[in-house]
């Protein structure tokens, strides 16, 4: 028998406001109709009336997890319009911040995945280690979330020798922890039992629905924008 369950727009299990109307068959979700826009802030419209410099700070606030990727995208666009060639060291620092942001973002979602699967300690562990990345970002930029590093022509702060040593030491720790999680996620039977085959997106569906990043790669499509369309310092190396 089919029946419908409505989840959201306000619900304790949701991280942001979204309305999901799900069609269930027993305990299996067969279809979901979604409604977005509950937290649409009209940033596109705001940006129309602001200067390029002001818009760096506005685009930074599109997202609190991937703030740097939005400013990188915007800065690169303006640099192309202005025919500005950014400083080489600036490009490398820009990429470094982007990669650190990627690491903290992946640790965040890995923890959330653990939490949703009922593996609370996994969530606590990954979020503790995410703090290591946020500390590095704070050493470099002074901020944990909105780093405000990008500026037209490069970045706003340099990295000195002391910072470099601290960063490298922290990365050693993170590498060890990541190996541990990889091993844990691939070998812990309760975790695998909860996740294997749940919400499976086939390769064909993932391509047809224009999925990107880890979602697309998890469906078996080896696409990575860093390799396929290299940006910042990746374009030069």
């Amino acid at each position: 028998m089919e029946y419908k369950v409505s989840l959201g727009p306000q619900h304790p299990a949701l991280h942001e406001a979204v309305s999901l109307r799900m069609t269930l068959e027993g305990e299996v979700i067969r279809d979901a109709d979604l409604k977005l826009g509950y937290s649409h802030r009209g940033i596109e419209k705001l940006a129309e009336e602001r200067s390029f410099i002001q818009n760096i700070y506005l685009t930074e606030r599109i997202c609190g997890i991937c703030s740097h990727s939005h400013t990188t995208c915007f800065t690169q666009g303006v640099e192309q319009l202005m025919e500005l060639v950014p400083a080489r060291r600036g490009l490398f620092i820009r990429t470094l911040i982007a990669e650190l942001e990627r690491v903290h973002s992946h640790l965040l979602w890995l923890g959330v995945a653990g939490q949703e699967a009922g593996f609370e300690s996994f969530f606590m562990y990954t979020w503790r280690d995410r703090e290591v990345v946020l500390d590095i970002l704070e050493w470099i930029s002074g901020n944990r979330v909105h780093y405000a590093m990008n500026i037209f022509g490069g970045v706003r702060r340099d990295i000195d020798e002391l910072q470099k040593k601290k960063i490298l030491d922290s990365l050693d720790l993170l590498r060890k922890r990541t190996d541990y999680y990889l091993n844990l996620a691939a070998s812990e039977p309760t975790f695998i039992g909860r996740l294997a085959g749940v919400g499976k997106l086939s390769k064909e569906q993932a391509i047809a629905l224009c999925a990107v990043g880890p979602t697309l790669r998890a469906s078996g499509v080896p696409m990575d924008v860093r390799k396929d369309d290299p940006y910042a310092s990746k374009a030069t190396t």
Binding site: G42, E44, K45, I207, A208, L209, A211, V212, D229
Partner: protein, 156 residues
């Protein structure tokens, strides 16, 4: 397959359908098409170069007309397909038959620019709220936000 090879093949294969074709930058190709050839060009790109990924559809308000840009890519090149549609009658064909993932972008175009997407599988609003007034399209350049006067019930 790199930029030049793809551009050469597009020039040969889509000669009578494409108004303008140029390599804008490394890994970027810009095409201009007429409304009636859009689906044909997109089908050709998908078939020949595996361009099945649509990053987004951009809407640009140019005054007299709207420009719609389809950002397609494969693993080597991004192709921007540009098309003009008049402001008086902003009708565009739906590309969902070729790229099912386009539905969210097309619904957003309808919300924000008031474009009419023909043959769209699901024409409901996506982002605007339920009580948003009809005929108000916030991303058109002439649309300005005016904060309504605050009325306090029972207040002075």
């Amino acid at each position: 397959m790199n930029n030049e090879a793809i551009l050469e093949k597009i020039n040969a294969g889509l000669k009578d359908k494409v108004l303008e074709a140029a390599a804008a930058a490394p890994r970027r190709i810009n095409l201009k098409v007429d409304r009636q050839h859009l689906l044909g060009v997109l089908a050709y790109l998908k078939e020949q170069f595996n361009m099945a990924h649509l990053a987004t559809i951009s809407g640009v308000d140019l005054g007299e007309s709207f420009e719609v840009i389809y950002h397609l890519s494969n693993d080597a090149v991004t192709v921007n397909v540009r098309m003009l549609t008049p402001r008086q009658e902003p009708r565009i064909p739906s590309v969902c038959s070729l790229i099912p993932g386009a539905i969210l972008y097309e619904r957003e175009l309808q919300d924000m620019f008031g474009m009419v997407v023909e043959n769209i599988p699901d024409p409901r609003r996506l982002l605007l709220c339920d009580d948003w007034p009809e005929g108000q399209y916030p991303l058109r350049k002439d649309w300005k936000f005016e904060r309504p006067a605050e009325i306090i019930p029972g207040g002075k």
